[in-house]
């Protein structure tokens, strides 16, 4: 399972990924699936499920609070967790 941490723009998603990388967490910048992009095009950082809490904590500390945290199940279904 993976978590998609969404941000308001590509710039913020990129910065979030770099903050995570410096903290030793692998995060991949990607576009938010259309089904979850209620406001139109958006970007997210994908992290492994086990890194979710740690990643959100690091990002919050860096002033880069994700707009939403979305769980992506292995079958591709999405679940907004917060």
């Amino acid at each position: 399972m993976q978590y998609l941490l969404t941000f308001r723009s590509l710039t913020y998603a990129q910065r979030a990924a770099r903050v995570l990388e410096r903290a030793g967490v692998t995060g991949t910048v990607s576009r938010v699936p259309k089904a979850a992009a209620a406001k139109g095009c958006a970007y997210c950082v994908i992290v492994a499920a086990r890194h979710r809490d740690w990643a959100v904590s690091i990002l919050t500390g860096a002033g880069l609070v994700p707009e939403r945290v979305i769980l992506r199940h292995p079958d591709g279904t999405l679940e907004v967790s917060e």
Binding site: S9, Y12, R15, V29
Partner: protein, 371 residues
């Protein structure tokens, strides 16, 4: 050719800039438009450049670094964000038309703070007298005509005391004279990418204090696509349309070159060349050199008048001798008016980090041949 028109554009650039532009055209598409490799490579380059510029100018958040097509573009955004018709705006007497014309266009009540060349105390006094009641102020950090380093830090202090937002035109200072955006506390700082920052033409940067800005252009940003209004956050709010990715890649290479060489070292080199050039000419009759008594007040830009020659004629003859300079009013009639050179204009010699002592001496000899 001896290129001494770097105040117009840095024709002489590091080889890494040309390579970066070429590589960007070969390997990068457009950021914010897809998640595929070439788009993400472009996005990484754009963010790298934002971060490098934020570091260079002490900007807290790279999102405050907005890419524009020129300093003029950035100044138009800044002025349109702060000034409404009839607003009183204080500007220095050394501003470029990139400031004067947008203010005129918006219908501002323009108050010009005039003070003699290389007299920073007088300039601060002029601002102090005019600032009460102003809605905004604009000050160039360095005069494009005379290389005069204005007391921007002190003017910024005055503006903060009076609650007047300040726009700094860093067109001639970026890459040589330091600018600490956070400490200065100004509302905006605009600069070209193609002068002291050594990037390609068609690049510019606007540093923004906050997100309360008025877009000049509207369009797609790759974010909040279902919303009719422009995003309210930076940099997206001010960056609609496709980015100039090759330009930004080249600008990044220029900034990296500057990081290695350092801005103070570049300024010191340009001042040394100006000193050599001036020393060769200063005893000659029939020449007027606009030099600061205190070298700390001038960059590597020098205006000269030749008594017997029209400035355009002088520049044309220098061009024939292989010396590239700019003559006339340099799009800065206010500066010429303030310095008393509006009617005659001047010939401007502007040095770059790539000019050599030999070139400076050869250019001086070419001037002597005109006498």
């Amino acid at each position: 050719m001896i290129y001494l028109d770097s105040a117009a554009t840095s024709f002489l650039k590091p080889a890494s800039v040309r390579y970066a532009v070429s590589e960007a055209m070969r390997t990068m598409s457009s950021p914010g438009r897809g998640g595929y490799e070439s788009a993400m490579r472009a996005a990484d380059t754009v963010l790298d450049c934002r971060v490098a510029l934020a570091d260079l100018f002490c900007v807290r958040d790279p999102a405050q670094v907005v890419f524009t097509s020129s300093a003029t573009h950035g100044l138009n955004i800044a002025i349109r964000s702060l000034v409404r018709p009839g607003d009183r705006v204080v500007i220095s007497g050394y501003e470029h038309n990139a400031v004067w014309r947008p203010l005129h266009g918006v219908g501002a009540d323009i108050a010009v703070a005039r003070a003699p060349l290389f007299a920073p105390d007088a300039m601060v006094r002029a601002f102090r007298e005019l600032l009460p009641g102003a809605k905004a102020a604009v000050c160039t950090q360095v005069s494009n005509v005379f290389g005069y380093i204005l007391p921007v830090e002190r003017i910024a202090d005055l503006c903060r005391e009076q609650g007047v937002p300040l726009i700094v035109d860093a067109s001639q200072s970026a890459g040589t004279v330091g600018l600490d955006f956070d400490r200065l506390g100004c509302a905006f700082a605009a600069m070209p990418g193609h002068k002291g920052l050594l990037g390609p033409q068609g690049t510019g940067v606007l540093l923004c204090r906050d997100e309360d800005v008025t877009p000049l252009f509207y369009g797609g940003t790759g974010s909040l696509s279902r919303q009719a209004a422009m995003p309210e956050f930076l940099p997206d709010r001010l960056e609609p349309g496709t980015h100039n990715v090759p330009g930004v890649a080249g600008l990044l290479a220029g900034v990296k070159w500057l990081e290695r060489r350092t801005c103070p070292a570049v300024l010191a080199h340009e001042r040394e060349l100006l000193e050599l050039f001036s020393r060769r000419l200063e005893q000659e009759k029939g020449l007027r050199l606009f030099r600061a008594a205190d070298p700390a007040l001038q960059t590597g830009v020098l205006s000269v008048q030749i008594d017997a020659l029209d400035c355009e004629e002088a520049a044309a003859r220098l061009g024939e001798k292989g010396v590239a300079v700019r003559a006339g009013l340099h799009c800065a009639p206010l500066a010429h008016e303030t310095a008393g050179t509006l009617e005659e204009g001047t010939v401007r010699f502007s040095f770059s980090p790539f000019n050599t002592e030999r070139e400076a001496m050869a250019a001086a000899d070419a001037v002597l041949e005109l006498l």
